[in-house]
């Protein structure tokens, strides 16, 4: 894909705080759709978002959104963006409704009442709309964050750890809202998180950051094939016997066992498919599954950024 196809682009972006570099030659590319931006704590995700929003000035390199410079044209960019930060800094004394009224006014939204009511219903805060924000639970804060980020029908929404510290039901609600907004309104999302299982359900593009640099990025399907191209899963009645036999097989590169399942990295696929059933028969093992692995985001992440 050419750089023009991406809505977010950074080129050799570096950001230092004193002598410490939080970002080192970061080349992030985000296409339309839902993008997962993953990395361990301290990898540079929040700093990257700070630079993209024009809150932090790059030490070197370039960052752009919709082709506009993130530092110089920050105001124009922010009028097309919705943002939900990791920290909760909403005015605690306001009610959700009043807070959203203020936000709507800033975006210059007309017919505020209707729009806010729809937004409150969409994020399931309608019943608590007149309660002070300071009385909200962690999940409610996140949903309010999502409501204020989506209030202007932005082209791109940046979410920093949207599902952190909330229960599974709350996480599911937020993920379903993201999916729905993307489907109905075509809103693009950049989701920064270290909860990888959440991304599995929603994102189509993945950018992996480690120690301030992108280690790999691409469509999830492509990355999945790339990082699991020659890996197979075998379920048999006595896996230990099979592993011992496969260790000496020429077509096998690596074999290991996890939770009674045999995993193989294969040198010769044709030989693998023809020989494994024969070996199982000779050992009088019942071959239940012989399957090509499709890498999960967690597996991709483990192989790129070295997470566990």
């Amino acid at each position: 894909m050419s750089n023009n196809a991406f809505i977010v682009n950074t080129e050799s972006l570096s950001k230092s705080f004193g002598k410490n570099f939080a970002l080192k030659n970061l080349n992030l590319h985000v296409p339309k759709g839902i993008t997962g931006f993953v990395g361990r704590n301290g990898a540079g995700k929040t700093t990257t978002i700070g630079v993209l929003l024009g809150l932090l000035k790059p030490t070197s390199g370039k960052a752009s959104i919709f082709g506009l410079d993130c530092w110089k044209d920050s105001y124009q960019i922010r009028s097309k963006l919705g943002v939900m930060h990791e920290t909760n800094a909403y005015p605690g004394g306001f009610t959700a409704k009043r807070y959203l009224e203020h936000v709507a006014r800033i975006y210059g939204i007309s017919q505020t009442e209707e729009h806010i009511n729809a937004q409150l219903k969409a994020v399931d805060l309608w019943n608590v709309r007149e309660k002070p924000i300071k009385t909200y639970s962690a999940g409610m804060f996140r949903r309010l964050g999502l409501a204020q980020a989506l209030i202007s029908d932005p082209e791109l929404v940046i979410l920093d750890e949207p599902t952190a510290n909330i229960d599974p039901l709350g996480r599911a609600t937020i993920l379903s809202i993201i999916k729905e907004m993307n489907k109905k309104r075509g809103t693009s999302f950049l989701i920064s998180t270290h909860i990888l299982s959440d991304l599995e359900k929603v994102c189509s593009w993945l950018s992996i950051i480690d120690a301030g640099a992108i280690v790999d990025q691409g469509f999830v399907d492509e990355l999945s094939s790339k990082y699991s191209a020659n890996t197979y899963k075998i379920v048999v009645s006595n896996p230990q016997f099979l592993v011992e036999k496969l260790k000496s097989a020429e077509f096998i590169q690596k074999v290991w066992i996890e939770k009674e399942i045999v995993y193989c990295q294969v040198k010769n696929e044709a030989a693998f498919y023809s020989e494994v059933p024969k070996i199982a028969t000779n050992l009088k093992l019942q071959l239940k599954t012989l399957q090509h692995m499709t890498g999960t985001i967690e597996e991709i992440y483990a192989k790129t950024a070295g997470g566990s």
């Binding site: 929003l53 809150l55 932090l56 930060h85 920290t87 800094a89 004394g93 936000v103 975006y107």
Partner: protein, 245 residues
């Protein structure tokens, strides 16, 4: 649109203060400050204007320092500025809206309470000397808020900014004394003594030394210059260089 957004931000800021009991606290502090003195060592008709200003100026500096430090350093430290600057708001709009909202709130509460007190104290409601004392109060407000904003920009820490502002203002006033043209109470003394003589032919505080026009002008210009330098510098820093982490 720009003006509409600016007013919207001012309302946001004021409502945020109203939703907390901060404005009530501000009003209470103003009333306590103006009612907390009774004895005058120099019982001229304008004694209360001068002697009464000590407590008011003390509490005004304390409250102003705390409120402005909370509004600027506090909002940076707690992530409110980060949230606000993620919306399509210009940095200049945010800086000025915060300033205008808080300055108006403190001014609108302190000045009427202070004014009412002198009226109740038996002075003519339209006596120009009252307005001179109020002008002195306004100068102290300008000085205190500019120091608080300047320190907030440097430290970005609410507590440090409050302590530094309050200690600096009180330290300066204590070191200079109440008759020095650079101290808060001294400024009011110079204004009353000089303009009192111009208005009534004799200085209002007879036992005290006469003051010159140049000294009075200096007493007025110094806080205005400090205000312009600190607020201007803070504005440039906030709009062009501040990184919100």
């Amino acid at each position: 649109m720009v003006q509409h957004k600016f007013l919207g931000l001012m309302c946001w800021e004021l409502e945020e203060y109203l939703s907390l009991p901060l404005l009530a606290f501000l009003a209470a502090s103003a009333i306590i400050a103006t009612l907390s003195y009774t004895a005058f060592s120099d019982p001229t008709p304008y004694s209360s204007l001068f002697w009464g200003s000590g407590t008011v100026l003390f509490i005004l500096a304390l409250v102003t320092g705390a409120f402005f430090a909370r509004s600027y350093a506090g909002s940076i430290g707690k992530g409110e500025a980060k949230l606000m600057l993620s919306y399509p708001i210009k940095r200049s709009q945010l800086f000025l809206a915060k300033f205008a909202a808080l300055f108006t709130a403190v001014f609108a509460i302190y000045i009427p309470v202070y004014y009412l007190h002198f009226y109740l104290d038996g002075l003519d409601a339209f006596d120009p000397m009252i307005f001179l004392a109020l002008f002195g109060l306004l100068l102290e407000l300008m000085l205190a808020c500019s120091v608080a904003v300047g320190i907030s920009m440097m430290t970005k820490s609410e507590i440090t900014s409050i302590l530094a502002t309050v200690l600096l203002l009180f330290g300066l006033d204590s070191a200079l004394g109440s008759r020095n043209l650079l101290s808060a109470q001294g400024r009011i003394f110079y204004l009353l003594q000089y303009f009192g003589e111009q208005l009534h032919g004799t200085p209002p505080f007879l036992g005290e030394p006469a003051v010159t026009a140049n000294d009075t002008l200096l007493a007025v210009l110094v806080p205005i210059a400090v205000f312009a330098a600190l607020i201007g510098g803070s504005f440039v820093y906030f709009t062009r260089y501040l990184e919100v982490d």
